[in-house]
Amino acid sequence: MKVLVLGAGISGHTAASFLKKKLGKRHEVIVVSPSQYYQWVPSNIWVGVGRMKPEQIRFKLQKVYKRWGIIFKQAKAVSIHPEGDDSISSGYVTVEYTSEEKAGITEKVEYDYLVNATGPRLNFDATEGLGPGKNTLSVCSFSHATEAWEALRASIEKMEKGEKQRFLIGTGSPTSTCQGAAFEYALNISFELKRRKLDHLAEITWISNEYELGDFGMGGAFVKRGGYVTPTKIFTESIFAENNINWIKRAGVYKVEPGLAHYETLAGEYKTAGFDFAMLIPAFSGHDIKAYDKKGEDITSVVFAPNKFMKVDADYTQKPFEEWSVDDWPQTYQSPAYTNMYATGIAFAPPHSISKPMKSPNGTAIFPAPPRTGMPSGVIGKIVALNIAHQIKHGKIEHKHTANMGRMGAACIVSAGYSMTKGLGATMTVSPVVPDWDKYPQWGRDIKGTVGEIGLSGHWIKLFLHYMFLHKAKGYPFWWLLPE
C-alpha cells in the first residue's frame, strides 16, 4: 500500500514518522513538501530577535527520510484526484517540483491513503500592503524571521544613536489568528531593548482583532492566580503594562502603507497607527489545491471549505455561538467525501471559530480565527497515522484513536525573553482547547487543568522543548517515546 503525506510540518512529519514506524518496509510512505527543510516553527521568535540562527531551528528532511525509508519529493501539491482518471485507477496527487534541479516538473503521485498536512497559506494579499517585501515583517517562517531580525537590528542601531522607534506588533487582518506568536514577539522585543538599555526610546504598541486581550483566538481562559480565578485578559494586560506596551484591541487592520497601518474598530471607526517597525500576522487560508473527479470535473468545493482548508468529520452546519458544541469539532479527521483521505493540523477546516464572532456596524467581521497550535497538530497527525496503519494492517476501516479539540488539552509556552538566568516564559495550559460549556458551565474549561505562570522556568521549558522536539523530529534514539 502507498500512503502519501502532503506537508512536512509539525503535523505531516509526525504522521509520516509514525506511519513508517508502524508499517515498516512492506508499505510505502511518501512525503511531498515544497521546502527541503523541517523547521521547528515556534523557535522562529528567537530567530526574529537574533537569539538563534535559522540553522539551529531547521534540518534537511532528505537525510532523515532516507534513514527511515520514507520517499521524499521536494514538491508542492497542485491538485488531488481522489478517483484517479482514465489511465490511473487509484487516487493520485499532481505535484510540481520545487527543488533546484527539478523545478517546474510535474508528476502524478498515486496513493491508497492520503494525509493532507499542508498547514496554512500565509495570506498576506488579503490585506493591502501587508507582508515582507511590502510594508510589514513576519516571523511565520525562518526566512521571514531572519528578515525581521535584520530590520530590528536596524531599528536598534537607530536607537543607539538616540532616535526613537515605534514598534507595532499584532494581527494584520480583521480575522488573523496566531496571536500567541505575535504576543511572544512583542515581549521578546521589549526584553531585548531592556537588555540593551534602549527601552526608554521605544514605543511598543500591540494591535489585535481580539475582543479582549488574552483571547488568543480561543475565547480567552481563566487561571487560578493569587487566590483568584483570573481571566487571561488581566494576565496579558498586566504583562503589557509591566513592559510599557500599549494596546489597541478590537482592531481589524485592512491596509498598510509605509509607516502607517489603517484599521477599523469593532465600533466601526476608521483609524491609523504609525510605526517604524511592524510585525503583523497575516490571515491564514488553505493552499490553492484543486480537486477533480474521475471525469476531470472540478470537485474542489466538495473536498475543501471556502477558506481552502479540507473538510473533515466536523459539523459544518451554520449555528449561532450559543449553540456551538464540542461535538462540532472533528474526531478522526477523515474526509466525508473520500474515506481514504484525511486532513491534519492546520490543514483541516474547523467547523467555526472558538472566539465569538463579532461584526462592526459596517459589517466587517473582526475576531480571531481558531488557532491550531503545535500540540494538537502533532497529536492529530499521530492518531491519523495510527488509524491508517491499523486499517492497512487489518483491512478494516475503524478509528481506534480519536482526538477532539473539545476533549484534549494543550500546553503553550510563551517566550518573554531569551536568557538562561534572566529570561522569562509564560507557561499556559488549557483543558480542553475548545471550551465545553456543558461540562464546565462556569469557565468552559477544567480550572484544575489550566495553568498560567510567568518566570525563568518557562524559558527553560521552552528551550528544553526546542531541543526535545528537534531530537524527536530528527528520529534520534527513542524519538517515539517523546510526546507530541
Binding site: E237, A241, N244, I245, M408, T421, V451, L456, P483, E484
Partner: protein, 53 residues
Amino acid sequence: MTDPKVIRAYKDEYYPPVPTAATKRMRTNIFIQLYKFLMLNYKIMRIVVKGHS
C-alpha cells in the same frame, strides 16, 4: 526640547495589576524556578498524557 509630560492615569495601561519588586525577583530566583520547572513539567505532562489517550 524636553518631551511633554506623560500622565498614565485614565489610560488603559494604568489599570492592570503590575508585579511588585519581590514578585519580579521570585520570577528569576533559581531555587524557586527550579521547583516551578519540575512542577510545571508535571502539570504539562498531565495534559499531554490525557491528550494522547
